[in-house]
Amino acid sequence: MEMVIVAPPAPGRLEDLRRRFFATPLQAVVSLACLTIMVFLVWKLLNWAVFSAVFTTSGGPEACQATAGACWSVIAARWRIIFFGLYPYEEQWRSALACVAVVVMTVLSCIPAFWTGRRIALVWGAGTGLFYVLMKGGVLGLAHVGEEAWGGLALTLFIFVTTCLIGFPLAICLALLRRSELPWISRTTGLIIDGVRSLPLISILFTFAVVLPFALPQWLQGDKLYRVILGSALFFSAYQAEIVRGGMQGVATGQEEAAMALGMRYWQRISRILLPQAMRNAMPATINQFVISFKETSLVVIVGFFEILASGNAAYGTGEWRFAYVEVYAFIAFIYFIFVFSLSRYGAFLERRMSVSER
């Protein structure tokens, strides 16, 4: 028998849909059922969030309670608390500018053109300096605002950024020490890393905030905020050190030998040959660690700081808006989403950019 093989014509879009979802009667039923559920859920959500929602504060909380939709007026009425926490009302523009400074600093340091030692140091120095002066005041005619009054988004960003700025270099140091050829150095470092990793973050924060002052002389204590940041940076570095070490193990031993044979010194080999390749290997896990750290900033509430999540509690927690907690949490979730999602997309961009040199 003669067989003639003809390539089937490419299906049109409708035909493709029919084949995927309506190939058999049973499949058609299941597809329709799923579609109905989806449409129903999306409609309910839209109806709650948009169509029946109250957006203006004119009617006050009472207007919200009269409708079945979302009460976004709580955000309109209380957004200052969410973003700025307990920061004095007249000075809140400073907190807003400080947030902008941190975001600009982060965005700039994500641009490859700024990846030289001098530029990145300049960006970070200027960014954190500006943040500190704006928030703390006491100079340039700005009223003094103590760290205990910092809060909201500004505090969340500050804790996250400083945790990473301190924790990341520390992580690289720990990773390098752990692969030292001297056993007592590598073992001690390993012990420190594993020790820190086996403690819960909350207990570390608590120790640094509350217990440490008893052990340190007055002049070494600093403000509670900076002790908490140090604790959180230590925690971050213990995890990140293992990620960096994993990345280093993925670099062929021949790379370091070639660098040695070319006469490069230890730090030249590390900075020019080993770390660039190790960080590329470690990129997905590193982005993951950043994302986790961003969300873990919310734990500082247990030592009495009102970062964005805790400020949200305060926003609906006082009397009249008590019923509107879902809206507040949805709004805060959206803010988290913006930051974390940008971070993830940036990670994807970095991976694409780095893969250019591999293939």
Binding site: A252, G254, Q255, E257, A258, A259, M260, A261, L262, G263, M264, R265, Q268, R272, I273, P276, Q277, R280, M354, V356, S357, E358, R359
Partner: protein, 252 residues
Amino acid sequence: MISTNSTGEPALRIENLDKYYGTFQALRGINLSVQRGEKIVVCGPSGSGKSTMIRCINRLEQHNGGRIAVLGTELNDDVGNIDEIRREVGMVFQHFNLFPHMTVLENCMISPMIVRKQPRAQAEATARHYLEKVRIPEQAMKYPSQLSGGQQQRVAIARALCMQPQIMLFDEPTSALDPEMVSEVLDVMVTLASEGMTMICVTHEMGFARRVADRVLFMDGGEILEEAPPDEFFTSSRNERTRQFVSQVLGH
């Protein structure tokens, strides 16, 4: 800085070299002296210590006994000496070991710039000169992974030459190559030899040995068993083990 030779000091002098990996003795009392401009080919079965020996010369392996002096500088724990020797000794590896995150040009420029502190323009000129010499100037802006094995190995040679070393070490430079790419690498090495470079090559390319080598060394069990000019080495070897090896590598 090491002065160019005027005292008759050999490029390399190895005396009673011992090397252990744990309890396994990889090198046993190696003695070798190499004059400037001399080309040495080292051969022998795998595990005989050839690679270990040349890796001791630039301290990729640390020796446990005996002495090594490179260009008159004693190789010991003195980091300054090690740095000085590594600057003057280039090495080419079996697996190329190019830096994958840098372009070919950057591979060639980095060490002159950060080790020899050359200005960028000078390092680039040198790099382009040597890339020309290994006949791949047009690949300068590519990344190593975009090149064939033979091209990568020629880049590795150019990279080593950019440091303008006085001695070149080759550790089985053609063993990892597809057969059709072996000759392009050997051609570059032959040219280099004809220009008077001091070379120590671990290789099984006996045609290359015959053409270029001043002396051929045969190693087995961590010892140098035979040392002779190529003609003598291939035709009238005194050592039974050497004759057997030569007949095996030339047998096909």
